[in-house]
């Protein structure tokens, strides 16, 4: 029992450390002396180390790729995209999904019916399929409609992933709100004549926070995995771990490092968010899991 608890605590610490380190490195990378620029080629003794000539080692921690770029440097720089996209999508998902969920759960009636159908519909499309189609369609629409030049692939990916985050969050929040609105303290507040807005703001929302934070943490891991997968399939960002995997995987037998390290980055980061979510769910005693 205690071994397990200790293990779990260690997992939580590991996750927190990894995430802090990753965010720190990703943000400060341009100023760090030991991290090359993403487009800086590795040269040893003046000789360009292209075509995977350099495995992991002193000159390049994670080895080089076919063009001679430093895999470690790219892993660090590209972490920015993964984190940025994941966090943006999660925040949008929390705001929109939370709003929809609260509205559906609190007001019920036709609002609930519409929101529920929309959620059902979104969830009936496999998340990845939805994201792929969405990103690629946004590509076309952006080109066809004038004035959308500022929209970059990154925002398309964020938009697609946000939608993925909205549906499960809305569902969970709706269920929680439905339960909360029947609880004594909410009934009390309502019977005292508090407005809906006030009840939601003071009674409902604070009680939703633990669930939302927990779900968001695990969800963040899933979204980062989805971001990597999109890049892997060629519909995501070029500057992404998933893209590194796709770009190098055909040479897995000859230059394992170029594929394996980005894989590990993705894997460990996703696991770290999952661990964090697991810790939080135990802490707040939240049972809902996104599947």
């Amino acid at each position: 029992m205690t071994v397990l608890r200790r293990l779990r605590r260690a997992g939580g610490w590991f996750a927190a450390t990894w995430l802090v380190a990753l965010v720190g490195l990703a943000v400060t990378a341009p100023w760090l002396p030991f991290v090359r620029a993403a487009d800086e080629k590795v040269r040893v003794g003046g000789k360009l180390q292209s075509r995977y000539r350099l495995g992991p080692g002193r000159h390049a921690l994670f080895g080089v790729d076919n063009s001679g770029f430093d895999i470690f440097a790219r892993c660090i720089h590209y972490a920015r995209n993964s984190l940025l996209v994941g966090v943006s999508a999660t925040v949008i998902g929390l705001l929109v999904g939370g709003a929809l969920g609260v509205a559906a759960g609190y007001f019920r009636g036709w609002v609930d019916r519409i929101v529920s159908v929309v959620i059902d519909c979104i969830l009936s499309i496999p998340a990845l399929v939805l994201a792929i189609v969405l990103v690629s369609r946004l590509d076309d629409i952006r080109q066809e409609l004038p004035g959308l030049g500022w929209v970059t692939r990154r925002w398309q990916v964020v938009a697609a992933l946000s939608l993925l985050a909205v549906a499960p969050l809305a569902r969970i929040v709706r269920a929680q709100t439905l339960a909360l609105r029947e609880r004594e303290f909410v009934l009390a507040a309502r019977s005292l004549g508090a407005t809906s807005r006030r009840v939601i703001a003071t009674e409902i929302l604070p009680n939703l926070v633990p669930t939302m934070v927990t779900v968001a943490s695990t969800g963040l891991g899933l979204l980062i995995a989805a971001e990597g997968t999109l890049a892997f399939l060629g519909v995501g960002l070029g500057e992404s771990w998933g893209y590194l995997i796709e770009a190098n995987r055909r040479r897995l037998d000859k230059a394992w490092w170029a594929t394996v390290f980005p894989c590990l980055m993705l894997f460990v980061t996703v696991m770290a968010f999952n661990l964090l979510g697991d810790r939080l769910s135990r802490r707040f005693d939240v049972r809902e899991v996104i599947t």
Binding site: D39, K41, L48, S50, R51, D65, N66, S67, G68, F69, S136, G234, G238, Y243, E246, A247, N248, R250, R251, D253
Partner: protein, 574 residues
């Protein structure tokens, strides 16, 4: 012209297609048939892999044909003429292709006694039907643009035209040249037979064409070829079985083909094909993926490899000359070209096995020059100077947009170019464009620079429709002259080459085109490809394809990388 070096699944090489239709010729491998191979053994099943699949329906008119498609099409279709290993055109299904004295009329006589595998007899009517059909296709129409046309109104199109054809007898007919299709403007076109070595010359059964036109099953093509289609699944598998009544015999009088069955698989990635060959899943494949070719050079004792380095493709940056961008300025174009580090390009992207390109004429091609006035050496200072001049003059920084198809190698190329151009003060942004959109982008001129690939061929006449100003259309309209090249010197020399009756004149004209393109930096050449065809030891009979007149047909004619399968055989002893 090809857009891609290695294609991923998504990237069936549609871009290839367009272009490749026309390019002709290109006798391949210098390897002479090794006499020591012994007598062919009949029978057996061969499994071949290829990397792209863009071809359905399998009608000569509509096929979108790259190298692998050409190879497969030639298992069930026979061409009218073929290119021999002597780089000359030899009759095949045609018994003869004869010009009149001034090369304005071409008399084609069809070989008798041949039937399609559905029992339809091959005769002049069948061939004319094919040519008429093909010349209404989007691209082949351009190939026969200088053949005379006559009005042939249809219910759908009152202004439709057809080739002007005179049928002399059941087996013979005449075609006429006419500038721009005008019968009143006959002109000498000595190199016309080269056009017939392309897709245009592949002859399908009229019954099959009728069935497809009526909405029937297009996936079961019927021709006179050495094999018959057993089954076809797009992007997966084509299975052909021996045509027991094939009309051609080998030099020793043995019935062709030797193999019982060929399974053509689509493996869109050459690295994967390589593993499949090593694992014994396939017996042969062709690739221009340099890293794979390099790998197989080290495995020659286990997997012999035929290499092709002549008449190969050129990887280059296709430049939009009509759009209102800095690329309109020669200085910018030349600077970009000079900034490319071709040594690093070859080392990195081409695994060190290709040659840096100084222009669009690959080695062996008519017009190729060791020195065309452009140096492949990187010259950052000079390039920077040119850019600085331009910026000073216009007051605007140079920002360009580069497009390429989805593939890892193409993305790498884009990244490398971005770095090199950054060194001379040019900002490049790039995006991967979906394959399908890619070709449309080029046709409509909605691009600045595209990563592109040009199919070789032998004579410059084959590039006429891609470079001549008459093939150019304004931006936003479909133009086979993607770059919207409009240069009097190039036009003049292309015309000269088309009508030249002697090789020397034609060669001089081609070289003039090469020099002019280099001078104006109309394209940004990167490298010439190298093709490899690694195969199992037991597979023999490469480059032994006979033509009826006793010459040897060339592998990879028009498209580097394909090979005749009619004469391949599997040696059970190896």
């Amino acid at each position: 012209m090809r857009s891609v070096v290695t294609r991923r699944r998504a990237g069936a090489a549609i871009a290839t297609v367009t272009v490749a239709l026309v390019s002709v010729a290109g006798p391949a491998r210098g390897t002479t048939p090794p006499a020591a191979e012994g007598d062919p053994v009949m029978g057996g099943t061969l499994v071949v892999a290829g990397d792209a699949e863009v071809t359905n329906p399998w009608t000569p008119k509509a096929m979108q044909c790259d190298s692998y498609c050409q190879q497969r099409a030639r298992t069930f279709y026979d061409p009218l003429v073929v290119i021999g290993q002597d780089e000359k055109v030899h009759p095949f299904l045609a018994e003869s292709v004869t010009p009149n004295a001034d090369f304005t009329q071409w008399t084609i006589k069809i070989r008798s006694g041949i039937t399609f595998t559905d029992g339809t007899p091959l005769n002049a009517d069948a061939v004319i039907r094919n040519l008429q059909d093909a010349s209404s296709g989007f691209l082949l129409r351009a190939v026969v643009g200088d053949l005379a046309k006559v009005p042939a109104p249809t219910a759908a199109d009152a202004n439709a035209t057809a080739l002007k054809v005179d049928k002399l007898d059941d087996m013979t007919f005449v075609l006429y040249t006419g500038k721009g299709g005008d019968p009143a403007k006959p002109f000498p076109w000595p190199s016309f037979p080269f056009a017939l070595t392309s897709q245009l010359g592949l002859i399908a059964s009229p019954k099959y064409l009728d069935s497809v036109a009526a909405g029937g099953d297009a996936t079961k093509p019927v021709g006179t070829g050495p094999f018959m289609v057993e089954s076809y699944a797009p992007r997966a598998k084509l299975v052909v079985v021996r045509n027991p009544n094939y009309w051609l015999k080998d030099a020793a009088g043995r019935q062709l083909p030797y193999l019982d069955k060929i399974e053509f698989r689509v493996i869109e990635d050459s690295e994967t094909s390589a593993k499949a060959l090593q694992a014994g899943d396939i017996q042969v494949f062709s690739t221009s993926a340099s890293a794979v070719v390099a790998d197989f050079r080290d495995q020659a004792d286990q997997f012999p490899m035929n290499e092709q380095t002549k008449y190969v493709e050129t990887n280059y940056g296709l430049v939009n000359l009509a759009a209102d961008t800095p690329l309109k300025d020669r200085r910018v174009r030349c600077a970009l070209s000079m900034a490319v580090d071709r040594a690093e390009y070859v080392d990195t992207l081409d695994a060190g096995i290709t040659q840096p390109a100084n222009g669009l004429f690959s080695p062996g091609q008519e017009g190729n020059l060791a020195d065309n006035g452009f140096s492949t050496e990187r010259n950052v200072d000079a390039a920077k100077q040119l850019i600085d001049d331009y910026v000073k003059e216009t007051g605007k920084p140079v920002v360009i947009f580069y497009g390429t198809t989805n593939s890892a190698l193409n993305a790498q190329r884009a990244e490398l170019l971005k770095g090199w151009w950054k060194d001379i003060g040019v900002t490049m942004t790039w995006e991967q464009v979906p394959q399908d959109a890619f070709i449309t982008t080029a046709l409509l001129g909605k691009f600045q620079i595209l990563g592109w690939r040009l199919h070789g061929g032998t004579i410059v006449d084959q590039q006429y429709i891609w470079w001549h100003s008459s093939a150019s259309a304004p931006l936003g309209q479909l133009s086979l002259n993607f770059s919207r090249l409009n240069d009097p010197v190039i036009d003049e020399n292309l015309d000269k080459a088309r009508s030249a009756t002697d090789d020397a004149t034609r060669k001089a004209a081609a070289e003039a085109v090469n020099r002019q393109m280099a001078k104006e930096c109309y394209a940004i050449p990167f490298s010439f490809t190298t093709w490899g065809t690694p195969h199992v030891k037991a597979l023999k009979g490469f480059a032994t394809m006979p033509t009826p007149d006793g010459a040897m047909a060339a592998d990879g004619a028009g498209f580097a990388g394909w090979f005749w399968t009619t004469t391949l055989w599997l040696d059970p002893k190896a």
